[in-house]
């Protein structure tokens, strides 16, 4: 009984996965995002240097998109159980804490150097 239900479950789990078509789709998304980043860095910013301030947040958002596609599709996390996804993603949020602490700290370093 137990083994049987496990087997049924196993089949369900493997139902949705990476097909070759999907792999190439994700590849072209990653390549496309990288091309957009290069377009901003090599063409838009040299022409309009005052846009440099806005370029950085755009790079970071695009990078997070790329990270999502790699982790969700290439590393298959999107098709794993919700519990596994959460146990990987929630600890990552602690990194935000370190970013906040150290950027705050580095503002003080500026005044120390003066």
């Amino acid at each position: 009984m137990s083994a049987e239900s496990q087997e049924v479950h196993h089949e369900e789990g493997e139902h949705e996965t990476m097909t070759r078509g999907r792999i190439w789709k994700v590849f072209f998304i990653l390549l496309g995002i990288t091309c957009v980043e290069f377009f901003i860095a090599l063409i838009i910013v040299p022409k309009h240097p005052d846009l440099l301030v806005y370029a950085n947040p755009v790079y970071i958002v695009l990078t997070l998109f790329k990270a999502f596609y790699i982790v969700a599709y290439f590393m298959h996390l999107k098709f794993e159980k919700l519990g596994l996804s959460l146990s990987i993603i929630v600890p990552i949020l602690f990194i935000i804490g370190l970013i906040l602490v150290l950027t705050n700290e580095s503002h003080h370093w500026i005044s120390l150097r003066k």
Partner: protein, 241 residues
């Protein structure tokens, strides 16, 4: 005599009562995920220290498109970001061949797994070769751990501002962080290539065919994609921002 199983002997099947695996993944794969989580913390602390030192430099920091503008062997200067674009493409490409190897493993197709694993190893070696050229180029310009080009030559790496002393300091910080972070990433690529070679040999020997599953390919695949993931961040913070 009744054959009904008493309540206490029944095998429990709810997710957290021990009847089956709550995460529905094999032990080794779960541990690979947790290892990668710890590695993600290591890389993020390195990158966040880079970010905070750069913040503290208050704008006087070597500009990526001025430092990285050579294509080793072709152009000495005037091609900003072209070479690193090639490196990024190689690494994304080898990630694709890795995921194709995993997909072929699901179909128990030994020939295709071998083919894609070899392609992944070649991609990894190409990336390492490119990184060696990049390091050599920066080294020959004078950047290294604890050394920078001569102070009066540093101006060409900066966009604006700063006294010579400040430029010397931030150029040194940049060099130290660049070699440490790309070095640590390159070390991961190197170990990834070694592990991929071992797995490829095992595929060729038929180890996983006998075992009936190519789960090991999936586990090293996770590691390899993680290396690609880290490069995405290194690329953004060193070459774009």
């Amino acid at each position: 005599m009744s054959t009904a199983v008493s309540q206490i002997d029944e095998v429990k099947t709810t997710p957290w009562s021990g009847g089956r695996s709550p995460f529905n993944v094999e032990y080794g794969k779960l541990m690979m995920w947790f290892f990668l989580l710890s590695d993600a913390f290591t890389f993020s602390s390195l990158l966040i220290s880079y970010g905070s030192l750069r913040f503290a430099a208050n704008g006087v920091w070597p500009a990526a498109d001025k430092v990285f503008q050579s294509v080793p062997g072709l152009l000495e200067s005037g091609a900003p970001l072209v070479f690193v674009g090639l490196m990024t493409f190689i690494l994304i490409m080898s990630s694709v061949t890795m995921v194709l190897a995993v997909e072929a493993g699901h179909r128990n197709d030994k020939k295709q797994v071998t083919y894609w694993m070899i392609a992944t190893v070649i991609g990894g070696l190409m990336f390492l070769g490119c990184q060696a050229l990049e390091w050599h180029h920066l080294y020959s310009e004078g950047f290294w751990w604890g050394s920078t080009p001569a102070v009066d030559e540093l101006g060409k790496f900066f966009r604006e501002g700063g006294t010579e002393a400040v430029r010397h300091m931030t150029a040194q910080e940049f060099a130290n962080l660049f070699f440490t972070i790309t070095g640590f990433h390159g070390f991961h690529v190197f170990t990834g290539v070694i592990i991929n070679i071992i797995i490829t040999i095992n595929v060729l020997l038929g180890t996983y065919e006998k075992r009936g599953s190519y789960l090991m390919v999936e586990k090293v695949g996770l590691y390899w994609h993680f290396v690609d993931l880290v490069w995405v961040f290194v690329f953004t913070f060193f070459y774009l921002v």
